[in-house]
Subunit: 274 residues, 2 copies
């Protein structure tokens, strides 16, 4: 089975994150060294295909792609951006991060700042965190009352339906890591001097709320995986598996869009360049 | 000599574009096949160095880089973006294009829309065309009176001084092609079905004003190459030369910035991850 089907959350179904092992590598087989080599080779093929598809998307300039990346700290959002989107033409791809909202952003509804960053025709935009934080960190820390965040699932579905209806293919990826893997990755930031600048004490505070986050993710994934904007839960303890799975999902979506350069309205044989 | 010095317009000097052969390849030597191989190898080295420097710029997050690309149609702005900036981490690099201004943009001064797109800390932004169009196409087509565009050179210098003063390294590159080379590249768009969508009859109209554009460029390059925001005139008839020259210039500028990750304020040995 293809990673697109393997990891897609069926719209209307309830996700059980505890039943999905973040260390598994479905879609591949054999001993680990063999799986790893296969994933690397297939990932490289995906990248080449994505480059061609991106060119056609840009030339067509009628539709767009929005990739939402979510996950706990150290889940691999930055690494995914580098390894899956790093080889695309920077003219047609943009990464948008969403951190703590500014006072101006807080003076608007929570989708305002997100809407401004959605992709225009021909473009691919990657959200490094997104409007889903408004039903994740906001819920876990009780930043708004429960009735407010509860109605957001429907608001988000409506917002994403709007985008999809105007030609945006939406792919939402949850990078699923285990609590043990996060510990190792945080420890690596402490142990390697070159990575120490990435370490934040705040990450430890969030880690203490692991179970609450998993619960909040479970609801977001279950309530907001729709036909027009599906969620994918990608096992992400193995970086090589994650890279291949995500490039496979993006490639598949682009292939289904099948973008084509517009037909020229001129007859090239009749044009003389002086 | 290094491309940084070879192509930099000395502040205060008058540029004579007609004296700069767009087909030459200074800084390299030997028969063309040898020059081409050397340029490709050195360019690949530059890209690896730029990736490391970009990481450090991002980690430091105190300064930024703005690269302005200008040139006649088909001069290679898109190709430069792909070949020189395409291998950087998309999270830290952004490409901004400036086409015909919108009504909202026209309701402001000409630097308003540009200022909004300048790089934040840790970031590299590439302008595909820029505020220089306001002393190029605007001048050639007489879109504003002469006294208005004439005072823009000083306004631009002051604007760029502001950016430089707040930690932005500015590199402005004019992709210098010959009129004959442009003819070949336009013809290729007509001859290759895959490229036909790029062809625009408007390009032929602009081509007729070649001499006026060269004059407008001469003034912009002469008046706006400053210590804080130098112009580089890069011979661009050979794409492989152009790529190497520009990656060399960007690499040199990043090396001179010498960005460094911030010193951590924590003692990693005292932290225990539960």
């Amino acid at each position: 089975m293809h990673p697109y089907e393997l990891h897609r959350i069926e719209p209307g179904s309830a996700v059980d994150l505890s039943a999905i092992d973040p260390g598994r590598t479905p879609g591949l087989s054999g001993p680990e060294s063999q799986e790893r080599a296969a994933a690397a080779a297939l990932h490289a093929e995906n990248i080449l295909a994505m480059q061609d598809l991106q060119y056609r998307l840009w030339a067509e300039s009628q539709r767009s792609v929005l990739v939402v990346l979510q996950g706990m700290d150290t889940a691999g959002k930055d690494g995914t951006i580098r390894h899956v989107f790093g080889a695309l033409n920077p003219q047609g791809v943009r990464v948008e991060g969403f951190k703590q909202p500014t006072p101006e952003e807080l003076a608007h509804d929570y989708l305002w700042r997100v809407h401004r960053k959605t992709p225009g025709h021909g473009r691919i935009v990657v959200f490094n965190r997104s409007h889903y934080e408004d039903v994740l960190v906001v819920r876990v820390h009780g930043l708004v009352p429960e009735d407010v965040w509860r109605r957001r699932y429907e608001e988000i579905n409506a917002f994403e339906r709007l985008l999809a209806g105007s030609g945006t293919t939406i792919l939402k990826v949850f990078l699923h890591i285990s609590k043990g893997e996060q510990k190792q990755r945080l420890q690596a930031r402490l142990d390697e001097p070159d990575k120490l600048w990435k370490f934040s004490m705040g990450d430890l505070a969030e880690r203490k709320r692991w179970a609450e986050y998993q619960e909040a993710y479970t609801d977001a994934l279950s309530r907001c995986s729709t036909e027009h904007a599906p969620w994918f839960v990608v096992p992400a303890d193995s970086k090589w598996y994650r890279n291949w799975a995500i490039s496979s999902i993006v490639r598949r979506a682009l292939e289904e869009m099948d973008p084509r350069p517009p037909r020229a309205e001129i007859d090239p044989s009749k044009i003389h360049i002086e």
